[in-house]
Amino acid sequence: MERGLIVGIIVEAIITGILTGGVYALMASGLTLVFGVMDIINVGQGALVILGAYLSFFLEQKLHIDLFVGLLITMPVMFGLGLLIEWLFIRPIKRDRTMLSILVTFGVALIIEGFLNIIFSADNVKLQAWYITASFPIGGFYLSYIYVFGFLLAVLLLGGLYFLLYRTKFGYGLRASMQNRIAAELIGVDVERVSMITFGIGVALAAAGGMAFGATNAFNAGSAYDLISRLLAIIIFGGMGSLRGALIASVGMLVVEDVTSVVWSPVWASTVFFILLVIILLVRPQGLFGQVEGRKQ
C-alpha cells in the first residue's frame, strides 16, 4: 500500500511534468528558432511571455473573452509586436550581433516589465476560467482540465510550426537561412524578411505560452526573470538552435522538477535540474542536439 502510494505520486508528477513541459516547449521553441535563424539570443522572451499572459488576463477581465479564444487576438498582436521589435531594435545592429542583441533585448524586457508594473501593479494575478478550477479523475488523482488543454494547444501550435518549417516554401527559406545565411541569400531567400517573420513567430509563441503559463501559475511582471532563466537552461540543455532539443529538454526539465518536488522538496526542484544541466555540459558542452561551434569565418 505504502509503496503503491509513492509510485502513484511519482506517476502523477511525471504526467503533470509532461503536460506542463509541452507549454514550456512552446516558449522555448520560439527562443531557439530565433537563435537558429538570426544568431541572436532574445533574453526578452521571458518578459514577452508575461506580457502575453497579461494580455490574456486583460481580455478575460475587461471583455470577458475566453482565454483560448483570446489567443486569436493576442497571438496576432504579439506577432506584430515581434515584427516591430525586430525592425526597430534588432535590425539596426550591424556588428557584434550576438552580444548587442542580448543587451538590446534585455533593454526591451526592462521597458515591458516597467510598463506592466505601472499598469497592473506588482501584485500577483492568476487567470480565471472554468477549466482552470474544474478537474477530472485520472487513475486515482485529480487533474485540472487546463493542463490537458494547455498541452493540446502546445501540440497544435508545434504541429503547425513543424508544417510551416518542413512543408512550405517559407519554411525552406527559413531552414536555409539557419544553415547558411549567405548561401541562402545567394539562392534568392530574402533573409531579412525571413528573420523578421521568425522573430514575430517566436513572440507569437510566447503569447500562447504565456496564456498557458498564467493559467497554471500566479504571476507578476517580475516572474519574467525566473522564466527566462528556465528557458535559457532548456535551450542550452537541448542544444542551441535545435527545435527537437528544446522539446525534449522542456519535457525533461518539468518532469525532473515535478518528481523532485514530490519525492524531496519543491524548494530544490529547479536546483536539481540546474545541476543536471551542469553535468550534461561537462560531458557534452554543446547540449543534447547542438552543433559544435567551429571556426567562424
Binding site: 537563435f35 550576438t98 526592462l110 521597458i111 516597467g114 510598463f115 508594473n117 542550452i236
Partner: protein, 353 residues
C-alpha cells in the same frame, strides 16, 4: 604630450582623493561610493570580457558570493562594526575567485553564445542556492552585517569611499598591466581569432581562465564592500540580475576592451541610475526610463564612446597630415564607420587610454 597626459591623470587622481572633502553632503558621497563600486566592478569585468571577447553575463554571481561571504564571516565570527570587516573584504574576494575557478572551467569549455547563456544560467543557480541554503544564507529573510555605530551620519560614507577607491585603483593597475603585457596581448589575440591564437602558441585555456578568475576576484571584493555598505543583503539584491547587465552596459558605453572606457561608462551611468531611482520611486517608471536609455545608447553608440572618439581623432589627424603620411595613421584611415570592426581597437597598439 606624455607629460600632459601624466599630469592630467595626477590632477584627476588628486581630485578623486579630495572629493569627499569638497562635497561632504552624504547624499552626494553615497552616489560617489556607488559610482566607484561600479567603476571597479566594470573594470574587473572588462579585464576578462573586454580583453578576451568572451562576454560574461553572470558576474552578479561573484558580486553576490563576495557579499554573502563577508556577511557569513561577520556573523559566524561575531565581528563588530568598524574597520575590521574591511580587512575581510579581500578574503571574500578570494572565496568568490575560488568559486570562479570551478564555474569558469565549466563555462569556458564552450564559446560565443553558449558561453554567454551558460554564465547567465550559473548566475541563476547561485541565486537559487542563496534562497535555498537556509542554514547558511537565511533564505529570503536575508542577512545583516555589523553596523559601525560610532561612525556618525556625516562620516559614515568616508571609509567606504576610500576602501572602494583603493579597490578601484588596484583594478585599474591590474587592467593597465594586463593591457600592456604579453599575457594581455594573448587575450586580445583570443578575442580576434581564438584558433589562430592557439596556433600561434597562446595558451588559450589558462589565459582565459586566469582572466576570468582575476575579474571574479575584483567583482567579489566590490560585492563584499557593497554588502557592508548597505548593511543587509537578500538573495535578489546580492545576486542582482540587473548587475550582470549593468557592468556590461557600462563597459559597452565607454568602450569595450579599453582601460578608460569602463570608468567613463560607470561615471556616466551610475549617477544617472541613482538619480532616476530617487526621482521615480515607483519601480515601473524607473525601469521604463532606464530601459529606454539603454536602447538609445546601444543603437547610437554600438562601439562605445572612447573608440568612437579615438576614431574621430584619428580621422581628424589623418586629414590634417594628408600631405605627410604617417605609418601610424594608415590603419586609422581604413576604419571609417561601416568598414572597421570592434577589433580595430586591438590593432592600434600605440594608444592605451
Amino acid at each position: 604630450m606624455k607629460i600632459i597626459k601624466t599630469a592630467g591623470l595626477l590632477v584627476l587622481l588628486l581630485f578623486v582623493i579630495v572629493f569627499p572633502m569638497l562635497f561632504s553632503n552624504p547624499a552626494v558621497t553615497t552616489i560617489a561610493v556607488f559610482t566607484l563600486m561600479f567603476a571597479a566592478a566594470t573594470t574587473g569585468w572588462n579585464i576578462f570580457s573586454g580583453y578576451s571577447g568572451y562576454i560574461a553575463l553572470g558576474h552578479g554571481a561573484y558580486f553576490g558570493l563576495g557579499a554573502y561571504t563577508l556577511a557569513i564571516m561577520c556573523q559566524r565570527w561575531n565581528i563588530p562594526g568598524g574597520y575590521l570587516p574591511f580587512l575581510l573584504v579581500p578574503v571574500a574576494g578570494l572565496v568568490a575567485a575560488a568559486f570562479s575557478v570551478v564555474l569558469g572551467w565549466i563555462a569556458l569549455r564552450v564559446r560565443r553564445h553558449t558561453f554567454v547563456v551558460i554564465t547567465i544560467a550559473m548566475f541563476f543557480i547561485l541565486q537559487l542556492l542563496a534562497y535555498n541554503l537556509k542554514g547558511l544564507t537565511n533564505g529570503s529573510t536575508g542577512l545583516g552585517l555589523p553596523i559601525p555605530t560610532d561612525w556618525s551620519g556625516d562620516f559614515f560614507n568616508i571609509p567606504f569611499y576610500y576602501v572602494t577607491l583603493a579597490i578601484l585603483l588596484v583594478a585599474i593597475a591590474i587592467s593597465w598591466w594586463v593591457r600592456n603585457s604579453k599575457y594581455g596581448l594573448g587575450l586580445l589575440a583570443i578575442r580576434d581569432d581564438e584558433d589562430r591564437a592557439l596556433g600561434l602558441g597562446v595558451k588559450t585555456g589558462p589565459s582565459k581562465l586566469s582572466a576570468f578568475v582575476i575579474s571574479a576576484l575584483i567583482v567579489g571584493m566590490v560585492g563584499a564592500t557593497w554588502a557592508y555598505f548597505v548593511e543587509s543583503i537578500y538573495p535578489p539584491t546580492a545576486f542582482d540580475a540587473t548587475f550582470d547587465v549593468a557592468v556590461a552596459l557600462m563597459a559597452f558605453l565607454g568602450g569595450l576592451g579599453t582601460i578608460a572606457g569602463p570608468l567613463l561608462g560607470a561615471l556616466l551611468l551610475e549617477p544617472t541610475q541613482q538619480y532616476f531611482t530617487l526621482q521615480f520611486s515607483q519601480n515601473g517608471y524607473y525601469l521604463v526610463i532606464y530601459g529606454a536609455l539603454f536602447l538609445v545608447i546601444l543603437l547610437l553608440l554600438p562601439q562605445g564612446i572612447i573608440p568612437t572618439l579615438r576614431m574621430r581623432w584619428g580621422k581628424y589627424q589623418a586629414t590634417r597630415h594628408q600631405r605627410q603620411p604617417e605609418g601610424e595613421n594608415d590603419h586609422t584611415i581604413s576604419t571609417l564607420p561601416g568598414q572597421g570592426d570592434s577589433a580595430s581597437v586591438t590593432r592600434k597598439e600605440g594608444i592605451n587610454l
